[in-house]
């Protein structure tokens, strides 16, 4: 489940995003790749000397203050308890803390509204983790860490659809699939699934959802956060069939920090280290694919 307001809106915005925004993501992804060799020596990760607990200028010395919204939704968090370490983003936050030398007990959670976190002005948190897409506009008022999650495309279907419960891409070939026009989701259908029946294309995700609900579609392709949102709160008799291999230039989630925060460099380094040593992929598999049921379609 995703944030009620912003995320579906964001994903709609991002999926139709301007080339500028995509370029931002491209640069981020590229810079990630560029960083990789530096971070290479995996466990124990090479750490900048400045990036250790005692030298970090956190809000409360010796503690790491992490924010998210109230309520915090599945599968990014679990049971609205960020401190339980369950759910993808909670797990990521604790791993980042560990990279910076903070013990579990040193991590303090606070609640900050989504909109406030990305508004200009001083912040009460060291970083905020709340499915923030990295965009050029937001980068003008807050800092983003390196991306910890690249948004995947997913197939959702009604429970009585012929493709519900399928696990292989080949099983989707005969399905009547739909997506919003001009999106990465549509690209995922034509490039990855390559169905035998022509996909249906809609002006908006709302029209596409209606068609799914009516049974005019066997499956609908949307990005994974939107898929969780639709299946949990909009179309209750729909399920996430699974997530598709990466396609196109994906939208990226980053940790939000105060503009020009002294921690941004260290936090980014920690995120990059987690990506390089496979922790992020592992967490994605655990919390999004297995627990949340977004099977990897292969």
């Amino acid at each position: 489940m995703v944030r009620v307001g912003p995320v579906p809106m964001l994903s709609a915005m991002m999926s139709r995003s301007t080339s500028a925004a995509l370029a931002t993501v491209a640069v981020l992804v590229a810079s990630l790749a560029g960083c990789a060799p530096v971070e290479q020596p995996a466990p124990p990760p090479a750490r900048n000397d400045a990036c250790v607990k005692d030298k970090l200028k956190t809000k409360t010395p010796g503690k790491l203050t992490v924010a998210t919204d109230e309520p915090a939704y599945e599968p990014w968090f679990s049971e609205n308890l960020p401190a339980n370490g369950k759910g993808f983003e909670s797990a990521v936050a604790y791993e980042v803390a560990k990279q910076l030398g903070f013990a579990r007990i040193d991590v303090q959670w606070i609640r900050v509204r989504f909109e406030n976190a990305i508004a200009p002005g001083p912040k009460e948190f060291d970083f905020d983790i709340n499915q923030f897409s990295i965009t050029e506009e937001r980068q003008k008022v807050v800092d983003f860490s390196a991306p910890y999650y690249l948004v995947r495309q997913a197939v959702i279907a009604r429970k009585d659809s012929p493709i519900a419960g399928k696990t292989r891409l080949a099983d989707l070939k005969g399905a009547k699939l739909g997506a919003q026009v001009g999106t990465t989701s549509y690209q995922a259908i034509t490039d990855i699934i390559q169905p035998t029946t022509k996909p249906l294309v809609y002006n908006t995700n709302d029209d596409a959802k209606k068609a799914l609900q009516n049974g005019q579609l066997d499956g609908l392709v949307v990005d994974l956060p939107t898929a969780f949102y639709i299946t949990s709160s909009e179309i209750k008799d729909a399920v996430v069939v699974g997530q598709l291999p990466q396609v196109g230039l994906p939208e990226a989630f980053g940790l939000v920090l105060d503009k020009d925060s002294p921690l941004t460099g260290c936090v980014s380094m920690a995120v990059n280290a987690l990506r390089d040593n496979g922790t992020l992929a592992e967490l994605e598999k655990t919390w999004l694919a297995e627990v949340a049921g977004a099977t990897e379609l292969t």
């Binding site: 690209q187 249906l200 068609a211």
Partner: protein, 280 residues
């Protein structure tokens, strides 16, 4: 003895004058067209953004790449057009005939027909399309037709409303003396309509009918909001992939090409009818 026609000097001079005038007109027309054309070309190609516009709207490579998909989409438009045009003409003719029925006993029929034309001419097409293509299937009735058929029904209902009014205008333009004459010859009301009124009415409204059919040709593509990919949608998809607007131009050119035969046929029909009436 045969007399050979000898034009008078005055007649000869008149003919020569007319020839000169014709040549002069042609030259002036050519010159003014040339000047205007040059001005347009200079204004457009000399504009500071022309290079950018040419790249994003007139890219030959993008056009070639997009053509097969756009043409496949146009095939859908064409099939829908034929189906919807026939349907809307039939609905329009029936409703117009019903609206012109006389006699108190036909009041409910007239009222229904009038209500229909008021409602469907007033409703935005896109809303009717939504109701039929995404609303009706939501009932999950057995035997719900495919989305294309539902979309076609919506188009027929909306355009039937316009076309009914065009037909009604035609029917009412036939002079009452024609009806009186037909009835006095012993034709029944139905025969009068069939042999006297409708033939004249339909001929008179052929040009506005064509207008509606050409408009319909562009509107059938709106069915794409329910999923099917028409020419404009195919162009939209290609545009999203390349961030180049040339596919829209490709679709536009194809639409014009599609309209030309339709317009030409109607012009010819109208011209023929006018000639016949003049020769009567």
């Amino acid at each position: 003895m045969r007399t050979v026609h000898q034009p008078s000097p005055i007649a000869l001079e008149r003919a020569a004058y007319r020839r000169r005038q014709t040549v002069r007109s042609v030259l002036i027309a050519a010159a003014s067209t040339g000047v205007l054309g040059t001005l347009l070309v200079v204004a457009v190609t000399g504009a500071p953004g022309w290079q950018r516009v040419r790249q994003s709207f007139l890219d030959a490579g993008v056009a070639r790449a997009a053509l097969p998909e756009v043409a496949a989409g146009l095939w859908l438009n064409l099939r829908l057009l034929v189906f919807c045009a026939l349907g809307a003409l039939a609905v329009g003719l029936v409703v117009a005939t019903l609206r012109t029925l006389r006699g108190p006993v036909f009041f409910p029929v007239r009222a229904l027909a009038t209500g229909y034309t008021y409602t469907f001419r007033g409703l935005p097409l896109i809303i009717v399309l939504y109701v039929f293509t995404l609303g009706v299937p939501g009932l999950r009735l057995r035997g719900t037709p495919p989305v294309l058929v539902l979309g076609a029904i919506a188009l027929i209902l909306v355009y039937g409303g316009y076309i009914a009014e065009v037909f009604r205008a035609g029917i009412e333009s036939v002079h009452p003396s024609q009806l009186a004459a037909a009835r006095s010859l012993g034709l029944t009301y139905r025969q009068t309509m069939r042999f006297v009124v409708l033939p004249q009415a339909v001929r008179r409204v052929a040009p506005p009918l064509l207008n509606d059919i050409v408009a319909l040709q562009k509107d059938v593509g709106l069915v794409s909001l329910a999923g099917p990919i028409d020419a404009v949608r195919a162009a939209q998809i290609a545009t999203a992939e390349t961030f180049n607007y040339t596919p829209y131009i490709v679709a536009g050119v194809l639409f014009v090409l599609l309209a030309i035969p339709l317009v030409a046929v109607t012009d010819w029909v109208t011209l023929r009818a006018a000639r016949r009436q003049a020769a009567r």
